[in-house]
Symmetry: C2
Subunit: 219 residues, 2 copies
DNA sequence: CGCGAACTGTGAATCCGGTAACGGCGGAGT
DNA sequence: ACTCCGCCGTTACCGGATTCACAGTTCGCG
């Protein structure tokens, strides 16, 4: 049905619409495209997937489009998210995510540091890690964010999954081994940095044919 | 020649080798594969690209393989990196990157906060942003990391590029418009989180009988 | 020394995603 | 009302990336 790439782009389209065209009536595919770093054909095709139709010569009606994207991206019920690890990275994620996603909420954070456990940081209560299973079950948490050192990641991932989490966003520089049926998205800073450095040093082309995470400019 | 995906995986292979098989003599493609979350065929393909040959029934010689990867990933000269933005995210990146990459070094950081400028944070000196062009030129910085708010990102990207940077790692939730020839890698936390949530909600679990949600047609 | 097992290297086939292209429609101008 | 223009929806196509499959090679062993 909808591929992961399409989902990513839909999320991006929504953010763009909300940020700068919330009050406009209509928007064209090529406008969304230039703003998202894609082509107009790609935008149209993504919107075809979600089944929303614009009108010729007018474009897409912003309000209805946003609603339609929401229906396909957001889970019918609100999804609860757990953040594991409250170092610099964890706090950065917390401040990013709190205001951003409508249907997602970080309802609990975990850390081993006794200076942090029990306190409320950026509106989110920090618990000790031995309470993890309990709270994940009680709050019906389905998504986990791992912002912990590499050595701790695998064990915590297993605990999260066995407590009911089915989606993981992993910042630790390790490939997690989880049971099939669990979705893992890895964000690997080291790899990303080395990739950029490689292109900066040698290849002088922009990332074409890459996923939308790469900017694409036309001359 | 080598695609971006291959570069990413090579970087990952190297890290895996260094972390856990540094002292072993030989390694098999399927071992690297399971550790990297890939298939053995993929590993062999990637290693074919860099022109390193293993020996049948033995596998790849770890030391020589590491060296060969290094020749293809690392720039002949050491590359200097600038980090712009020293909020939580910036500091997290700093601590990640300092020990990790051999041939990359974050030589300067920038922030607008006068409490930070002039100080040395995690072994990296923090400068005011108006010194940016000067320092980028003096240090021959080729890679920039943007860990700043969305509104500031585009302007800083342009300044970095015009001062000589040719690769950007962008954490701001904006698609940068830069001149062609500059490589941009976007890391978009919001999009990543929404993607994970989507898969967690409508999971791709392998069991049979998962109901398909149908697309509403809009008139 | 020959056999079997296990791994590598690589051409071929397949899969996937993105782009081009074209028909259709709706509003604007005359 | 008719025509024209621009944009949308959709299909067909294309190129890259991944996987398959198999030949080639090396080592251990009886």
């Amino acid at each position: 049905m909808a591929s992961a790439k399409t989902i990513s782009r839909l999320s991006l389209y929504r953010r763009i619409l909300l940020r700068q065209w919330k009050d406009r009536a209509f928007v064209f595919s090529h406008e969304l495209a230039t703003e998202a770093g894609a082509t107009s054909a790609q935008v149209r095709r993504d919107l075809m997937v979600i089944g929303y139709s614009g009108s010729p010569n007018r474009g897409y009606e912003v309000g209805a489009l946003l609603e339609s994207i929401g229906e396909h991206l957001d889970s019918p019920k609100r999804q609860a998210v757990a953040l594991v690890g409250l170092g610099n990275l964890g706090r950065a994620i917390l401040s990013f995510a709190t205001n951003q996603c409508a249907s997602l909420e970080i309802v609990a954070a975990f850390d081993t540091d006794p200076l942090k456990t029990g306190r409320v940081i950026q509106g989110c209560r920090c618990h000790a890690e031995n309470e993890l299973e309990q709270i994940v079950r009680d709050e019906a948490i389905t998504v986990g964010i791992l912002a912990v050192p590499a050595l701790a990641a695998q064990g915590l991932a297993e605990r999260l999954v066995s407590a009911g989490v089915s989606g993981l966003l992993n910042f630790a520089p390790v490939r997690l081994r989880v049971n099939p049926g669990t979705y893992v998205e890895n964000i690997d800073l080291t790899v990303a940095l080395e990739k950029v450095a490689w292109f900066a040093g040698r290849g002088h082309r922009n990332g074409s044919g890459l996923e939308m995470l790469h900017n694409r400019r036309k001359a």
